[in-house]
């Protein structure tokens, strides 16, 4: 790639950036105030929505498996596997939602 092209690209971006110099951003105090308001009044129902939906799905699966494999007594191994799977899925969901939130 020629030096000339590199310089052209830099120049074109520099020129375009001239427009940004005239743009006024909110002052930090104003932005801080807006953010505090948003943090204080964000919908609480959204906070645990992903975890709740995962638990719900895990419970449905658990109920289905219990109904499907019911043999007159509660299968401890099935219970252990399902609980560990639900825990793992909850941990995974928390991890994924944290990534997506950011």
């Amino acid at each position: 790639m020629s030096e000339e092209l590199e310089q052209d690209i830099r120049n074109i971006l520099d020129r375009l950036d001239e427009a940004a110099l005239t743009h006024d951003l909110p002052a930090s105090a104003e932005m801080w105030s807006r953010l505090q308001f948003r943090l204080a009044y964000r919908p609480r129902s959204n906070r645990y929505a992903s975890q709740a939906s995962t638990l719900q799905a895990a419970l449905y699966i658990f109920a289905f498996l219990m109904w499907f494999t019911w043999s007159g007594w509660l299968s401890v191994s099935l219970l252990a596997i399902t609980v560990s799977a639900a825990t793992a899925s909850l941990y995974l969901t928390l991890h994924v939602s944290r990534i997506f939130r950011s």
Partner: protein, 158 residues
């Protein structure tokens, strides 16, 4: 994070972050909204105590994700006159430059901006965009090639 710490972070990062968002999406009003959303997500994530040097790439990463969300919804994919504020010193020339730049794909604009204006390394761009280093190298090469074709088609008057 308290107001004082936020102020330091904001003063150090807001301008370059806004420029990045505005140049890539081409809409200053959208950039204003996304800028606020970036800081909101930073505070909400519980990682707001990190150092400014660490927070900066993290904020760029958030901004990139927000831009990608908009592209997935089909927004910011075309440039219309009036989207971009003209420079007070030379409005017509600035608009010409904007037209050429916005004929590039959003991804190409994004990579060129990070590489040339933010002077990020391939590794830093990879961290911000979520791509691997090899992909960044290849996509950046293509972006430069696209830019060269566009500049030539403009007859070198830029």
């Amino acid at each position: 994070m308290d107001g004082q710490a936020f102020s330091s972070l904001y003063e150090a990062t807001a301008k370059p972050l806004w420029r990045y968002i505005a140049r890539v999406c081409g809409k200053p009003d959208v950039a204003d909204d996304l800028l606020q959303e970036c800081y909101f997500r930073l505070l909400r994530s519980g990682r707001s105590e990190m150092k400014i040097s660490d927070a900066r790439p993290y904020l760029f990463r958030i901004a990139t994700n927000l831009l990608h969300d908009r592209w997935r919804r089909g927004e910011d994919l075309s440039f219309e006159d009036g989207d971009e504020p003209a420079s007070e010193t030379n409005p017509e020339r600035c608009l010409d430059v904007a037209r050429v730049l916005y004929r590039l794909k959003p991804r190409a604009r994004q990579l060129l901006w990070l590489a040339y204006m933010e002077e990020m390394t391939h590794r830093e761009i990879a961290d911000v965009t979520g791509l691997n280093v090899m992909s960044v190298r290849i996509l950046l090469f293509r972006a430069r090639r696209e830019a060269r074709v566009l500049f030539k088609s403009e007859g070198g008057r830029l």
